[in-house]
Subunit: 335 residues, 2 copies
DNA sequence: CTGAAAGCGCTTACAG
DNA sequence: CTGAAAGCGCTTACAG
C-alpha cells in the first residue's frame, strides 16, 4: 500500500522534535507525557496524516485487535437464515465501542482443520462461534489451543467453553404451562432437530411441562426449521392422534407449517387446536391468527456473547462460565 | 496468544538444520531449495506445529492478506435485507481459493471519516463496497488514498472506481417490451428510490421501452423497497389513472404491495392489470398469481465483484473498468 | 542451492 | 517527563 509515502512514527518524532518513545506514548494515551510534547506530537500527526502501522504494532504487542465470528455451518443456510443476520447485528453492536475489527469466517471455505489452524495461528485475539449444528469439534480445539472463545448457543459436546444461549427450556416450559392452563387435554409438540441443543432444550421444557401436569409427553413429531417440515410433522401428529387440541412448535417457522396443515384439515385455530410457536420472529405477526409464541432476543444473544468475549480478553476476573438470556411467552391469538 | 510457546521460524530452522532463509523459502514455495532441505523443513514444521506469524509477515511484505467488505449503510436494513445476505455469500464464494480473510465493516459503528481512515490505514489490501444508498463520499476517498476498491452497484457520484452491477436498464427495458408485446395500452411503473442508481436505472429502462413504443412515460409513482410502499404507490397510480392495465414494479417486494392493492380494488391480475417485478426473489413464486419478473443473480454479483478486486490485487493487466451482469425476463403468470 | 545480515515500524523495559 | 536501545518474527536482496 502506498509504498514509501506513508509516514512512520519516526518521521512524526522528527517533525515533533521528540523521540519515538514519546510519540508512541502519545499515540497510546500512556501517562507521563508533558502537555508541550503531546501538543507537538498531535500536531505532527495531523500534519503528516500519520496512521500507525497495524502490523508492526501487532508484532510487538502480540495482539491483533480483531476477533473472529465463526459460522460453523456449511452451505447456504447461514445466509438465508434471519437468525444469522440478527446475531451478526448483535455482535456488531457489541463491538461498537471496542475499536476491534470483525473477521468473518465460515467453514464452507476452509476445511475444519484449516479453520482451526487459522484461528489458532495468531490471526485473531478471540473467536465467537455460532454453533448451528451438532457436536462440532472446533470449540474443543480452540480451548486446547488456548484461544479465547465464546459460543452462541449451548454446545452439545461436553467442552469447557463459555457460551451464551437463550433460556430455551424455561421458554418452552412456559409455553407448555400456558397450554395446560388453557385447559387443553391433548397437547403435542413439534420438536426441532434432535441433534441441536436448541431442539433438545425446547423439547425438554415442553416435556417438563407435561410431566408437571401429569400429562403424557409422547405426542411428539420432529421437524427441521422449515415451513414444509412443520406442515409434515403436523400431518403426522394428526394422523396418529386425531384428538390433539394443542401443539407447541419449536419455532415460529415450524408453527407456520403446522397452521397450514391445520387449515387444510379444517381445524380452527385456536378453537380446535391451540398453537404456540417459538422465536417471536416477524412471522408471528403475519400469520392468521397471529401466533402466540415464546420471545427470544437473538440480537441480544449476539451482543451478550460479544461482551462476554471482550470481557474475557480484558482479563476480567470472575466471569460467569456461561449465560442464559431470558425468554418470555407472548400471548396473541393462536393460543 | 500463547506467549513463548509458539515456535518461530528460527526454531524451525534449528530443528531442520538449515538457515532461516531456507525455511522461509520452503514456507513460501519459493524456488531454489534442495529436496533434502525441503523435506527436513517440512518435517520440522509439522513436528513443532509451526504456524507463521502473520503480523511479522505483514510488516515486511506490506500486505495484510485481508480484504474489507464495506456495507455502507446505517442501521438495521443491512441485516434484514436478503440482498446483503446474497452478496455476502457471493463474496465469500469468490474468495474461496484466495487464502484471504474477509473483514466486515459497516459504518454504523464508525463514522465515515474513521471508516475511511481505517481502510486507508493499511489494515486491508483492498475493499469491496456495497453502496446501497446515494452518493457516498467513501469511494472517492478510497480512490484518492490509492486503496484498490470495487463497488457492488453503480455509484451515483462520478468517481473513477470500478464497479460491478446488474444490467438494470436492459432488464427493465425487457419488462417494458414484454408489456407492450402483450398489447397493454396504459403501462405504468412503480419506480424505486430516485436517489439510488438501481432506482434510476430501472426507471430509465422502462422509459426507453415506452419511448420505443411511442407510449407516454409519465405514469410513474415512486416507492421504497417495501411491500407497504408498493401498495401505496399502486393506490396512487390507480387514483390518477384508473385505466392502467399494466405496471412494472422496480422490485418484487414492491410488486407484492402492488398486487395487494390491486386485489383490494377488485382488479384481476393479469386479466385487468398485468404486473412485472424485478429480482426474481423468493417472493416471485410465492405470490398468487406467480410473478413475471426480471431475474438478476445477486450472488453472482458478489462473486464477480470479488473476482474483479482480486484480479486487481494481483495486478492483472487490462482489467475492464466496470462490468454489467446480464438480467433476463422470467415469464410466469402475472404478465 | 544456501546463509548472514539488514530491515519492516512499532512497543517496552531501562536508565536517566 | 524523556530518550537510546533492544527486540517482536518474518522476508529479501546480496554474496557466495
Amino acid at each position: 500500500m502506498r509504498p514509501s509515502e506513508a509516514p512512520t512514527l519516526e518521521e512524526v518524532a522528527r517533525v515533533a522534535g521528540v523521540s519515538r518513545s514519546t510519540v508512541s506514548r502519545v499515540i497510546n494515551n500512556l501517562p507521563g507525557v508533558s502537555k508541550r510534547a503531546k501538543v507537538a506530537v498531535d500536531q505532527a500527526i495531523t500534519e503528516l496524516r500519520y496512521v500507525p502501522n497495524q502490523a508492526a504494532r501487532n508484532l510487538v504487542t502480540r495482539r491483533t485487535n480483531s476477533i473472529a465470528l465463526v459460522v460453523s455451518e456449511h452451505g447456504d443456510r447461514v445466509f438465508s437464515d434471519p437468525f444469522f443476520a440478527k446475531i451478526l447485528r448483535g455482535v456488531y453492536a457489541g463491538m461498537a465501542d471496542s475499536r476491534r475489527q470483525l473477521v468473518l469466517l465460515m467453514d464452507q471455505t476452509r476445511d475444519d482443520s484449516t479453520l482451526a489452524d487459522y484461528l489458532c495461528g495468531g490471526h485473531v485475539d478471540g473467536a465467537i462461534v455460532v454453533s448451528l449444528h451438532g457436536r462440532d469439534p472446533l470449540p474443543a480445539r480452540l480451548v486446547s489451543a488456548g484461544l479465547p472463545a465464546v459460543l452462541v448457543g449451548r454446545p452439545l459436546a461436553d467442552v469447557e467453553v463459555p457460551y451464551v444461549d437463550s433460556d430455551n427450556l424455561a421458554g418452552s416450559l412456559a409455553a407448555a404451562r400456558h397450554l395446560v392452563g388453557l385447559g387443553r387435554r391433548r397437547i403435542a409438540s413439534i420438536a426441532g432437530p434432535a441433534d441441536m441443543a436448541v431442539g433438545i432444550d425446547r423439547l425438554a421444557g415442553w416435556q417438563r411441562g407435561m410431566a408437571e401436569a401429569g400429562r403424557p409427553d409422547d405426542l411428539v413429531a420432529y421437524s427441521d426449521f422449515s415451513v414444509d417440515g412443520g406442515a409434515a410433522a403436523m400431518a403426522e401428529l394428526l394422523e396418529e392422534h386425531p384428538d390433539i387440541d394443542a401443539v407447541f412448535a419449536a419455532a415460529d417457522i415450524i408453527a407456520v407449517g403446522a397452521l397450514r396443515t391445520l387449515s387444510e384439515r379444517g381445524k380452527r385455530v385456536p378453537e380446535d387446536v391451540a398453537v404456540v410457536g417459538f422465536d417471536d420472529s416477524v412471522l408471528a405477526t403475519t400469520t392468521t391468527p397471529k401466533l402466540t409464541t415464546v420471545r427470544q432476543d437473538i440480537e441480544e444473544l449476539g451482543r451478550t456473547t460479544t461482551a462476554r468475549l471482550l470481557a474475557q480478553l480484558s482479563a476480567e476476573a470472575d466471569l460467569p462460565r456461561s449465560l442464559l438470556l431470558p425468554t418470555r411467552l407472548v400471548v396473541r391469538e393462536s393460543a
